[in-house]
Every structure is written in structure tokens, then in C-alpha cells.
């Protein structure tokens, strides 16, 4: 039986990341007590949001922003786990979530399961589901250690408000920055300006792949996304090739997106990519190769040369919208 679940509600902007509410929704479904650990945010404001999603207590670690969060947050979470007697920990499959979970697993000498798309209770324990082979197969696994350390892919479960809001207690806990491992210092932070909505929150995502021909042609993707008020994404192939940064990558090793429309241009549909986008409501794919796997899952597949088709499509949208 899971009685006590600790979730990591990581910061994003000035508040907590939306995925924290997904974690809270999942946690309260299997555990009576849900403790959320927050840092680098206004703890009271975070607690008010988390209360709506059924979190029963909040622990604030204050400001950790000068160091990489992995070490100090994991050290503090270990204390929280011991104090509340937690038997499950949920984090997001994010940069921070993975770093924290990795260190926590060493501190507790317990294994991790990551990339979870669902966690369900079964026979007193937890069964964790993740996708392999581009989302064709669901693997159900179980941790046999006394504590379940799990990273959940954002957008896997919908955040739903609890039937009635809770009144979580808020406690402060200091973090120690003295450990030998905590030598990684953040010297400066840089925001890369991207226009339009965030990739994992956009209603429309336009992604490009090798079929664009060259890096310069990625401008068509940007223009289309702009016209459709969407975000731009990419296949691993063009991220590896250095055309666009890693932050653009959609897929197993990148972001999971679930937009209303996913427009895949010149992406063949390697399993690696499909797992990150097959949850889209509508999929349009443009590909030269009529046997490309992506056409097998697209609602509308166009067999053609993206370099020729995209300028015409952009022009047609311009005419219709007057943009």
C-alpha cells in the first residue's frame, strides 16, 4: 500500500511547472498523504495552487538557484522521505526531475523507473507503464524495493482538480550546500528567445526533419508555425545534425507533445520520434517517401517534396488569413 507519496513540484518561471499538477493528480489517486517539495518559488502561492490538486503538505526549500538543483534538492528530499515515511516519490521526466531522482536513488539505494506514462495500483504495489518501440508496446514494470522512485513524462496524465481542495501545511526546510558533490555552480542563465507558445503547451506544433533538405529550409517550419500560432519542433536527426537546438526535439529523448494538430514535415517517423507525438489529436505528415512510417499514423498524409509544397502552403494560408 502506498500511504505517503512525495512529489517534486519544480519551478517554472515565477510559479511551479504545470507538470507538478499532473504529478499531484496521479499521487492523490494512489496515496492518502501527498507531500510536495518546492524550491525557488513563493511557497504560499505554490501551496494555494497545489491545494486545488489535493496535496496535503508542502515543504519549501527556499532559494537554491545558485547551484544545480540535483544535489541540494535530492539531499533535502531524502530528509523529507525519511521524516514522512514516504514509500513513493514522483518527479517529472525533466532535466531537474531526472537529476534529483538519480541522486535520490543513490542516497536511498533504491532503483528508479523513468519515462512512466501511467502509474497504477496493483496488489498493494505500483505498476509503472512506459512505452517502447516508438509507442507500439507498453511495458509494465514493478519496483520490488521498499520505496518507489518514479519519473513521469509530462503530458501523460491530465491534471484534474481534487473533489475538494485541501489545506496543506507549509514548512520550511533549509538545504545544505556543503557536500563535496555540490560543487556545480550556475555562473549565468540565458534565455533563448523563441516566438510563440511553448513546445509542450502549444495547440499546434510544426516539426521538421531531414526531408527539409538543409538547415536553411527550417525557416519554412518557423513561418508555418508562426502563421498557425504554433510552436516549432524537430526530429532527432536534425538536432543531431546541429540545425536546431536540443530543446526543439520531439520524441523519446526529447519532449512529448499532445497538441490539437501536429504537422510533421520531412520526418520519416523513426520510433524514437513517434513516441513523442502520437498522442496528438490530429496529425498531418508531408513526406517524399510513400512508405515512410509516419504516413501510417497520419490522419492526412501527403506524399511529396516538402521544399516545393511548403512555399505553396504558406502562400495559401497567407491568402486565407490575410497575414
Amino acid at each position: 500500500m502506498i500511504t505517503n507519496c512525495v512529489i517534486l513540484a519544480e519551478p517554472q518561471g515565477t510559479g511551479i511547472a504545470p507538470v507538478a499538477l499532473e504529478l499531484a493528480t496521479l499521487a492523490r489517486g494512489i496515496s492518502e498523504q501527498v507531500t510536495a517539495v518546492v524550491f525557488d518559488v513563493d511557497a504560499q502561492a505554490a501551496a494555494e495552487t497545489l491545494a486545488v490538486y489535493g496535496v496535503t503538505s508542502v515543504v519549501s526549500l527556499g532559494d537554491t538557484s545558485s547551484h544545480l538543483p540535483g544535489v541540494p534538492v535530492a539531499d533535502a528530499m531524502r530528509e523529507v522521505v525519511d521524516r514522512v515515511g514516504a514509500n513513493a516519490v514522483f518527479v517529472a521526466q525533466s532535466y531537474t526531475g531526472r537529476d534529483v531522482l538519480a541522486r535520490l536513488s543513490v542516497l536511498l539505494d533504491a532503483p528508479v523507473l523513468t519515462n512512466a506514462v501511467n502509474v497504477r495500483e496493483d496488489d498493494g504495489g505500483l505498476v509503472v507503464e512506459n512505452l517502447v518501440f516508438g509507442g507500439e508496446k507498453v511495458v509494465s514494470s514493478k519496483i520490488t524495493a521498499p520505496i518507489q522512485l518514479i519519473a513521469i513524462r509530462p503530458k501523460s496524465v491530465a491534471a484534474e482538480a481534487a473533489p475538494s481542495a485541501t489545506q496543506p501545511s507549509v514548512t520550511e526546510q533549509s538545504v545544505s550546500a556543503n557536500s563535496q558533490a555540490n560543487r556545480a555552480v550556475i555562473v549565468s542563465s540565458h534565455v533563448e528567445e523563441r516566438q510563440g507558445p511553448k513546445l509542450d503547451e502549444a495547440e499546434v506544433v510544426v516539426s521538421g526533419g531531414r526531408g527539409l533538405g538543409n538547415a536553411d529550409n527550417y525557416r519554412y517550419i518557423e513561418e508555418l508555425a508562426n502563421l498557425l500560432h504554433g510552436a516549432t519542433g524537430a526530429s532527432r536527426a536534425i538536432v543531431d545534425a546541429g540545425w536546431v537546438p536540443y530543446a526543439y526535439q520531439v520524441g523519446q529523448t526529447g519532449k512529448t507533445v499532445k497538441p490539437n494538430l501536429y504537422l510533421a514535415v520531412g520526418i520519416s517517423g523513426a520510433t524514437q520520434h513517434m513516441v513523442g507525438m502520437k498522442g496528438a489529436k490530429n496529425i498531418i505528415a508531408i513526406n517524399k517517401d510513400k512508405d515512410a512510417p509516419i504516413l501510417q499514423i497520419a490522419d492526412l498524409g501527403v506524399v511529396g517534396d516538402a521544399q516545393k509544397l511548403l512555399p505553396r502552403l504558406i502562400e495559401a494560408i497567407r491568402q486565407k488569413t490575410g497575414a
Binding site: V187, L228, Q272
Partner: protein
């Protein structure tokens, strides 16, 4: 300076992948290759070694069998030597077990810097580099999209949700690199020939004084809900009209 690069030898992901119904492990194809993700780590290590004036680059790998084919690719790129830990008990090893084995090799070879990919292409757990760091008590500089070594100070650009942070730490340390960080070199003919005679040390768990207990298990592998193909059209010079219709239908336009 000694740089250890964690590398994984995987079944070629471009070939059909299957799961063994008894062991619930991925069936290993006849040919093991160096995971593409790891080529970036090897390349980075070679460049840092050049900057540092001829440091040693040691590939470290773990496999249930005595596999070395993938490691030879890294040696052909220019790595100095390799250590492969093989033991039947490592079949189905989880990330923490893997990290314990790798961290133990790092100590054994007395490396100052460990470089690893962010995650493997097949298992993609994504925690091994930070677990190795935690086991060694070293900082983990994760998700690096650029890396520099100035004297004994590591400086990386760490990928964040909306850009990057510049993160620094003194050696020793662990760095995980994202794909695309550098263009990995192709092994030259000379490299391939010389790789055949480079030292590859084979170790068992016993040699490292380790025993493993794997605390997780796969219960079932089932088909996921499938999506089916919709309408497929050929672009005869006017396919944009089809797309416009569809966009109107779903009210995007």
C-alpha cells in the same frame, strides 16, 4: 588527465526490435553497435584530451555477454583503451546497478573526468550519469550542449527548458552531453586497423568486488493502442488545397 567515457553497445535500432517473452529483456541482435548517442561523448573526450595535451581516453562499458564490437568503433575513433564489464548477472540490469558497475570502473582506472550521453537509445532511463556522479561523490554537470576545460575547471552550457545555464565545477566531475553537441568523427581506415590491437580489459563483477540485486522487474509487454492511417494523397502540385481543407475541418484555420 584520464577521461572515462561511458559507452553502451546496443542492437542496431534500425533493425526490427523484439522482446524475449521469458526474460522480458530486449533480444540482442547478432551485431552490436556503439550507441549513436555515445559517439558524441567519445568525440568530446578526444577533443578535451587534445586540448589537455594528450590525456588518456578510456571507454567503459557494461554488457551481460562479452560484447566488444561497439567498443571497437570508439577505439577506432581514437580512444586509448577500453574496459568492458561482462557478467550474465547483468542481464536486465537497472540504471542504478549499471551506475554502480560504471562508478566502480571509474575508481579502478582512477579517472578525473567521466563523460556520458544523456541517455541510451534503447533503455533511455536518463539517470545513469547523475547516479555515477552521486556514487563517486562528484558533481554531475548534466545535459551539456557545450563543454570546455580550462585548467582543471569544467565549464558547460547546460540545456534548460527555455535556454541554457553556464555551469562550472572543478575536476573531478561527471558530464552528460546531449546529442548534436559536436560532430563525431568517422573512424579512419588507420583508426580501424589500430583499434584491433588496442587493449580491451574484460572484467567480471567478481573482479570489481561487486554483487548485484536487481530490484525491479518487467511484468508484461502489451500492444499499445494503435493509430491508423487516414487519407494519403500525392502532391500533384496542388496538395496544399487538401491541407487547407483539413485545417479548416479541424478549425485550425
Amino acid at each position: 588527465m584520464k577521461v572515462a567515457v561511458c559507452v553502451k553497445q546496443i542492437s542496431d535500432p534500425s533493425e526490427a526490435q523484439t522482446i524475449d517473452p521469458t526474460s522480458m529483456c530486449l533480444n540482442r541482435g547478432a551485431k552490436a553497435i556503439l550507441d549513436d548517442s555515445d559517439a558524441y561523448g567519445v568525440e568530446i573526450a578526444l577533443r578535451l584530451a587534445e586540448v589537455a595535451g594528450g590525456a588518456e581516453v578510456v571507454l567503459i562499458s557494461m554488457a551481460p555477454n562479452q560484447e566488444v564490437q561497439g567498443v571497437r568503433t570508439g577505439l577506432a575513433m581514437g580512444a586509448t583503451s577500453a574496459v568492458v564489464v561482462s557478467d550474465p548477472q547483468l542481464a536486465g540490469a537497472d540504471a542504478l546497478t549499471t551506475a554502480k558497475v560504471l562508478a566502480s570502473v571509474v575508481k579502478r582506472i582512477d579517472a578525473d573526468l567521466v563523460i556520458a550521453a544523456t541517455e541510451s537509445t534503447d533503455g533511455y532511463t536518463g539517470t545513469v550519469p547523475a547516479q555515477v556522479a552521486a556514487l563517486l561523490g562528484w558533481p554531475a554537470l548534466t545535459f551539456a550542449k557545450q563543454i570546455e576545460l580550462r585548467g582543471s575547471t569544467l565549464s558547460i552550457q547546460r540545456q534548460t527548458e527555455d535556454g541554457y545555464d553556464v555551469v562550472e565545477a572543478d575536476l573531478p566531475g561527471v558530464v552528460s552531453v546531449t546529442a548534436g553537441v559536436v560532430e563525431p568523427r568517422y573512424p579512419s581506415f588507420k583508426g580501424i586497423m589500430s583499434a584491433k590491437s588496442k587493449p580491451v580489459e574484460q572484467l567480471s563483477l567478481g573482479d570489481l568486488g561487486l554483487s548485484v540485486a536487481i530490484d525491479e522487474k518487467v511484468l508484461a509487454v502489451n500492444d499499445a493502442e494503435a493509430r491508423t492511417a487516414g487519407q494519403i494523397v500525392e502532391d500533384d502540385g496542388s496538395a496544399e488545397a487538401e491541407i487547407m481543407n483539413y485545417l479548416a475541418q479541424i478549425k485550425v484555420l
